[in-house]
């Protein structure tokens, strides 16, 4: 494992900003995601109803809020969980892909968390690799061990493996940039650190801390939902939702989910406690100093620039914590509105199709 120095004030994030990956590289990952999204959307439209869309919206909102909680990791840095594994276990990996993609899109457009051009790469890592790998691990272990504790172990391992695989993909993508895209003088055009640095920098915190957190929340949340509303859990034996059209959402479950999401919104400022900036999310002005380089890669200096509405989840003039809560409220509300409208659209499409038949 290569030796590297990381500034103690920096944090690690899985969200790849714009210009850290070459546009051509982003385009390839985006092209990989297009058929994935197509398949997932087709499954969503044909196999789900309006209430399942609501579950999907709740999952997306939960993922969005979980990603706002930063946790301290070794080295004086911070990182965050994603919640992708529990969403995949609860509503299926294809629906989880859509849910996390929506959350990432909102983060990129409204809050500048993760790039617009790098959206394909971020979705590949967090919306494709994480839920599908987590779900695969869960199914394999459930197939081997069929007891209750075995299922809990399966959930935990699914979360742990899923988030670490996603982190590994991110590290590899970043580490490939200086290898593939260099100037004639040998300077990196985009992300400057090779895999010998990016992989340990990403994997150590995720293996030691983030993976454990992801495993813990996967076990706890899935257990709560299984006890409260087993009918809404994805049934992988039949590959469809176990719930039937005439089963209604329990009012207590709805209330419970709203209370949980509200509490998470109010507790989001806790994610600011660890402090520090994000490793990799360096501004162009201080890039050299933050990255420990004597130059700013040309692709980063002259690349695409996007000014989000609420950049960095903050509002200038308000305390950071208040800005964080307001950003969480806005993000949660927008996701809820989008998924409710999506549910209405799905129902209308299905009704029109039935009428035509």
């Amino acid at each position: 494992m290569g030796q590297f120095m990381i500034d103690d004030t920096m944090t690690l994030a899985m969200h790849i900003p714009d210009n850290f990956i070459a546009p051509q590289f982003d385009a390839v990952l985006f092209a990989i995601m297009i058929p994935v999204w197509g398949i997932c959307m087709r499954t969503l439209i044909t196999h789900t109803d309006a209430k399942n869309i609501t579950t999907l919206g709740a999952g997306s909102a939960f993922s969005f809020l979980v990603m706002m909680f930063n946790v301290p990791v070794p080295g004086g840095t911070t990182a965050h969980a994603i919640g992708g594994a529990l969403i995949a276990i609860l509503i299926g990996p294809r629906n989880a892909c859509i849910a996390i993609s929506m959350a990432l899109l909102l983060q990129a457009l409204l809050f500048g968390d993760g790039g617009i051009i790098a959206y394909g790469a971020n979705c590949f890592n967090m919306a494709f690799v994480l839920p599908f790998s987590a779900y695969a691990v869960y199914r394999i272990i459930c197939g081997i061990v069929s007891s209750d504790w075995g299922e809990k172990v399966a959930r935990g391992l699914a979360g742990y493996v899923g988030v670490n695989l996603a982190a590994l993909c991110t590290a590899v993508e970043l580490g490939l940039q200086p290898v593939l895209y260099r100037t004639n003088s040998g300077q990196a055009l985009y992300f400057p650190y090779p895999m010998s640095i990016s992989i340990p920098a990403m994997m150590i915190p995720h293996l030691l801390v983030v993976g454990v957190i992801e495993a813990a929340i996967t076990v706890v949340v899935v257990e709560y939902v299984r006890r409260s509303a087993p009918e809404i859990v994805f049934d992988f034996d039949t590959n469809v939702y176990r719930r039937h059209m005439d089963v209604h959402w329990n009012g207590n479950i709805k209330r419970g989910i709203r209370i949980v999401l509200l509490c998470m919104v109010l507790l989001t400022p806790l994610g600011l406690l660890p402090g520090g900036g994000a490793w990799g999310e360096w501004s162009i002005d201080t890039f050299g100093q933050d990255a420990g380089l004597s130059y700013v890669p040309k692709g980063i200096a002259n690349g695409f620039s996007f000014h989000a509405l609420l950049a960095d989840y903050s509002l200038k003039g308000l305390p950071v914590a208040v800005g964080y809560v307001i950003s969480a409220v806005i993000g949660l509300s927008v996701l809820t509105i989008i998924f409710r409208l999506l549910g209405q659209l799905v129902m209308r499409t299905r009704r029109n199709r039935l009428n035509r038949e």
Binding site: K316, L318, I326, L332, S333, L341, Q344
Partner: protein, 302 residues
Amino acid sequence: MSSSHTSTVMRPVSESCCIPARCKANDNDIVLPEWLTNRAPYVPDVGRKHFIQHNLLHFGRLLVRIKSGGHLEINDDCIVRLFADVHPGIRLIGLVVTIACINLTQNMLFSYVVFAVVLAALAVRPMEDMVQVLKPSVTTALLGVVLVLPSAMFAGQWSIMSRIGVRTFIVVSITVSLSRSMSWNDLFSGLSWIKCPDVIIHMVDITLQFIAILGGSVIELLEALVVRSVGRDSKSLTSSGNLLGVVFLRSHRHALEMSDAMICRGFSGSYHMRSDKRYSIWKQAIYVAVGLVMIAMAVYLK
């Protein structure tokens, strides 16, 4: 008498004959003139009835809403229940104050705070209300963004797009939300409470009633137009103009008749709003307090 089936054979006669000649072979044959037996296939062009159908649908929806007194059909709405016990006049003042605070603050901080509250309130509303509020809000906000796009591009003031978009969205959404959570009677009660001139309330009242009456007339005329339209109507604009002319004449006649009827019933021009509804003092106090906090925040964050 034997029942014999009279066979009728229709045969064309020569074109030179004006009067159908009977066939000498069979006296019972009915002979039709040639011009009557010629096939004249007519396939009308496919007419675009989007104008008529769209307007019929729109008027129908409007009439349903107006004839129900502007009451909402949706009952389970936490936002409506939250504000139901606040006097409509106070709510109207609150709306005006909120719009003023949003537009008078220079920086966007206050607007973003209100934006968060508006979005959260919208997210918990019933689907129909949410869609009906979102449609005009998003449309107007996008229109505003498009209008300022040239200045943003050429002057480099990109932040103006978010400023206009967010503020327009907030203003339109809170106005439409208020209209959808308040019946017409409550609206008049509120206007009277804030000492709005009776003549304005009278105009609004008459307008709403006439919309219901004339809307019905428009629907009847549109239906008549649909029935009379075959194929593509190249004079649809003329038809629409004639329709509107008829509606105008009817409205004029209705207005004169209604004015005479109101005078006969002793209407003197003043509105006395009597309401048996009791409003919660605590809720109104909280509403006013929140409004004052909002004003203080707007001044502080200005």
